[in-house]
């Protein structure tokens, strides 16, 4: 008898032909990694055989081939029309009874197993030719969330089947030379993780910017995960150190609080026509907190590590936190494809000159791009983008990939490091600055701009075409020297990238940089927070959002900076210099002028050891000591 459905716990990676790549991957994790602690929601998949029979029974095979055979995909109007026609046919077709019965039985079993009548499901597409090792292609096919009851499930399965004929999917197959009729679709039906009441996000088992392999990079935001994948939110970010995790030590290297302005939750479902999901604003109070606790971050990272070890390669993983049972689930895992291709050649870009900053966001890649700014509001403006232009927009969409390819740089108002624009930009090797907030308001259509991702974590859009240097060096050809070559590093956000340059450690890690860039507030003001005027208290409170208290903020930020450097250069030594600000430099920090003396000659004034030993500063120095102690003694 033909098999129309398959349970995840019976599937492995070898079943791509039966249930597509994504479903096979879920099956692989359930059947091999549950014991090890990887938590994947239960479910089943329709088989590719069911898809084939569905097309045959409805007489669609020849009709679809006929439409696609003569199609010129560069003719956008023709592509749109063809896609629409085919999708209409698929949605109007009916599932043959045999398949319907198999789905119905499996559904009853899955719903019964949950012990909850109101249980909802996610229905996702899984194709036999997507997520190939060399094409990560974010958001290739369809996902439907919060699907209820058999009737909705059947409708969702057809939506998933139809998604194989999305315009971009058709165009993609032509570009990649896949025959249309050799790609089959499977629908995965999985119990919903109640992340609408929790949080969700994406994680990579390497640093996506530098390719650094000893860290796990996690993004997180409230609600269902679509917002992060699409890039409609600026998520929280965390780096976790693999060696620390393995050794059972505190392993979080750094945290970055995202704005998390919106979240996707379940729709009201008062009537059948209501949307299954809706997005809404997140309350201010929740936005100023991290969407995951430290222990949740580490628990997620542990699951990621197990998955990476099982597959033996860097992975790109979607996760979800269930707000009802409090558990963390893995909802997707696939090989990471971009950095895995990186080689030994180090490419470096450096701006020779800086100009007026028009917008600032998260840097993707490390290149510099420049050209004429094109403000694009929708796909209908696609033709306005010429080769070499800088694409500026609210956010990108998978349908935009053809224009993104033409751009010399991409700038978006919304999105984090794992959003669609970021993934595609990285894949195409184009610099992108995402999550600028207001780039479309500050960059004028037609203006000449320079987009720099060569300055660490933050990316900048400058006015004008600024000169820059571009050098390449092959690290494979450096012979040994009788002297150690180490590096001076200030900003920890460069650490993973710099660690790829040949070196024997860090000869000078400047704590002042961490204080300046990651803290920005005079330590005395944090120690004496209670005695500050209200205006200052308010300002400081907003800057330390997400941390327990002012002193904790200071120490933890130092810990994050130092730990990131130490992890980046392990096993080489890192020499950390305790703070070496002069009084005028300390005065520049927020509230600094309240505590710092006016000196005629600060360079030979209140600095270094004399400062540490002075009654006025000693307690500030002790905070540095406790940060060093935590990194050395607890994190290892």
């Amino acid at each position: 008898m033909t098999q129309y459905i398959a349970w995840f716990d019976q599937l492995t990676m070898h079943d791509v032909g039966l249930v597509g790549g994504k479903n096979a991957s879920l099956g692989e994790m359930i059947s091999h990694l549950s014991q090890a602690g990887v938590n994947v929601p239960a479910g089943f998949a329709t088989t590719t055989e069911a898809y084939r029979e569905f097309l045959v029974a409805n007489g669609l095979v020849d009709r679809i081939n006929h439409v696609l055979d003569g199609l010129d995909i560069d003719d956008i109007n023709a592509l749109t029309a063809a896609g629409k026609t085919i999708r209409g046919w698929v949605l109007d077709a009916t599932l043959p009874d045999t398949i319907l019965q198999a789905v119905s039985e499996a559904y009853e079993k899955l719903a019964a197993g949950s012990g909850d009548d109101a249980v909802s499901f996610a229905v996702r597409s899984s194709a036999t030719a997507e997520d190939l090792a060399d094409a990560s292609f974010a958001g290739q096919q369809e996902t439907l969330l919060n699907v209820h009851g058999l009737e909705q499930i059947i409708a969702a399965i057809k939506v998933v089947f139809a998604s194989l004929y999305n315009d971009r999917a058709i165009a993609y197959r032509v570009h990649q030379h896949f025959p249309h009729d050799k790609v089959y679709l499977s629908a995965g039906i999985q119990k919903m993780v109640r992340s609408d009441l929790g949080a969700s996000g994406v994680m990579f088992t390497l640093d996506t910017e530098s390719g650094f392999r000893d860290a796990i990079f996690i993004t997180a935001a409230y609600g269902l995960g679509e917002t992060i994948v699409q890039g409609t939110v600026n998520p929280d970010e965390f780096y976790v150190y693999k060696r620390g995790l393995t050794a059972g030590r505190p392993a979080i290297l750094s945290r970055r609080l995202g704005t998390k302005a919106i979240e996707m939750v379940y729709g009201d479902k008062k009537s059948a026509s209501d949307a299954l999901t809706l997005t809404r604003d997140v309350e201010a109070e929740r936005r100023t907190r991290f969407s995951l606790s430290d222990s949740q971050v580490e628990a997620l990272a542990r699951q990621a590590l197990i998955i990476e070890q099982h597959y033996g390669r860097p992975m790109d993983i979607e996760w979800a936190l269930d707000g009802l049972d409090g558990q963390l689930y893995i909802v997707q895992a696939r090989p990471e494809t971009v950095e895995s291709r990186a080689n030994q050649v180090i490419e470096r870009f450096k701006l020779s000159d800086k100009g007026e900053v028009l917008a600032e966001g998260r840097a993707i890649g490390h290149k510099i791009g420049q050209g004429t700014a094109r403000l694009i509001r929708g796909i209908e403006q696609m033709h306005e983008v010429q080769s070499g232009d800088v694409l500026v927009t609210e956010m990108t969409d998978p349908d935009w990939e053809p224009i993104m390819k033409r751009a010399s740089a991409i700038v978006t108002n919304r999105g984090g490091r794992t959003c669609h624009a970021a993934i595609i930009a990285r894949e195409m090797g184009i610099p992108a600055v995402v999550g600028c907030g207001d780039a479309t308001a500050h960059i004028a259509e037609g203006a000449q701009v320079t987009v720099s991702c060569a300055e660490g974590d933050s990316g900048y859009v400058y006015a004008g075409l600024l000169p820059f240097e571009h050098t390449t060096a092959d690290t494979g050809q450096l012979p040994d020297l009788p002297v150690k070559i180490m590096m001076n590093i200030g900003n920890p956000s460069h650490a993973f990238t710099f660690s790829r340059i040949p070196n024997q450690g860090v000869g000078l890690a400047r704590l002042e940089f961490i204080i300046n860039n990651m803290i920005g507030i005079h330590p005395k003001a944090l120690l004496e927070f209670d005695q500050l005027p209200d205006a200052l208290k308010t300002e400081i409170s907003s800057r330390i959002a997400g941390y327990e208290n002012p002193v904790h903020f200071y120490v933890e930020r130092l810990v994050e900076g130092i730990a990131t450097l130490a992890a980046a250069f392990y096993p080489h030594p890192v020499i950390v210099r305790t703070s070496d600000f002069k009084s005028n430099e300390y005065a520049n920090l927020l509230a600094g002028s309240r505590y710092e003396p006016q000196e005629e000659n600060p360079m030979i004034g209140f600095r270094g050891a004399s400062r540490y030993l002075a009654a006025a500063f000693r307690d500030c120095f002790e905070l540095e000591c406790s940060a060093l102690r935590k990194v050395r003694d607890e994190m290892g």
Binding site: A473, K484, M486, M487, I575, L613
Partner: protein, 150 residues
């Protein structure tokens, strides 16, 4: 690493302060390095090294303080040069003192990143590490390889 330590008394006290904060030299592999960036540090190198496991040279401050130059004053800044013989003489004292006691001696100042011949001189004096700005690592490395061949 402790910066700008002017006197032996400060050295003793700051090491004691660190120890009182749980950062005890020698414990759990902790090595304490002192910035060598004031002429007093080089002149009393052997004595300072009682308290530390080595020196890291700060060539910028050492040059300003040896030559009495405010680098930010454009009227005199042209005289600033880490390769001035007086500076080199002090640095040699510091390097020799570290060698004598078998301790770490590195440099983390801007000098060797800016001047390959200064990097070469330090290399010849037997400095154990050069800490460079990341963008000059590759070039300095290749320069030193060529120097070794000559």
């Amino acid at each position: 690493m402790i910066p700008f330590c002017r006197t032996l008394e400060e050295a003793e006290q700051v090491v004691a302060l660190l120890a009182s904060q749980g950062l005890v030299r020698g414990q759990n592999g902790l090595r304490l390095i002192m910035m060598c960036e004031i002429p007093s540090n080089a002149l009393l190198a052997e004595e300072f090294l009682q308290y530390f496991d080595g020196f890291s040279i700060g060539s910028n401050d050492m040059t300003q303080l040896t030559l009495g130059i405010d680098r930010d004053s454009s009227l005199v800044s042209h005289v600033f040069d880490e390769r001035n013989p007086a500076v080199k003489k002090l640095l040699k004292m510091a390097i020799d003192a570290c060698h004598k006691q078998g301790k770490y001696i590195g440099i983390c100042g801007q000098g060797p990143s800016d001047y390959p011949d200064f990097a070469a001189w330090l290399y010849e004096q037997g400095i154990s590490s050069l800490s460079l700005n990341p963008d000059s690592v590759m070039q300095t490395w290749l320069d030193l390889v060529n120097l070794g061949k000559q």
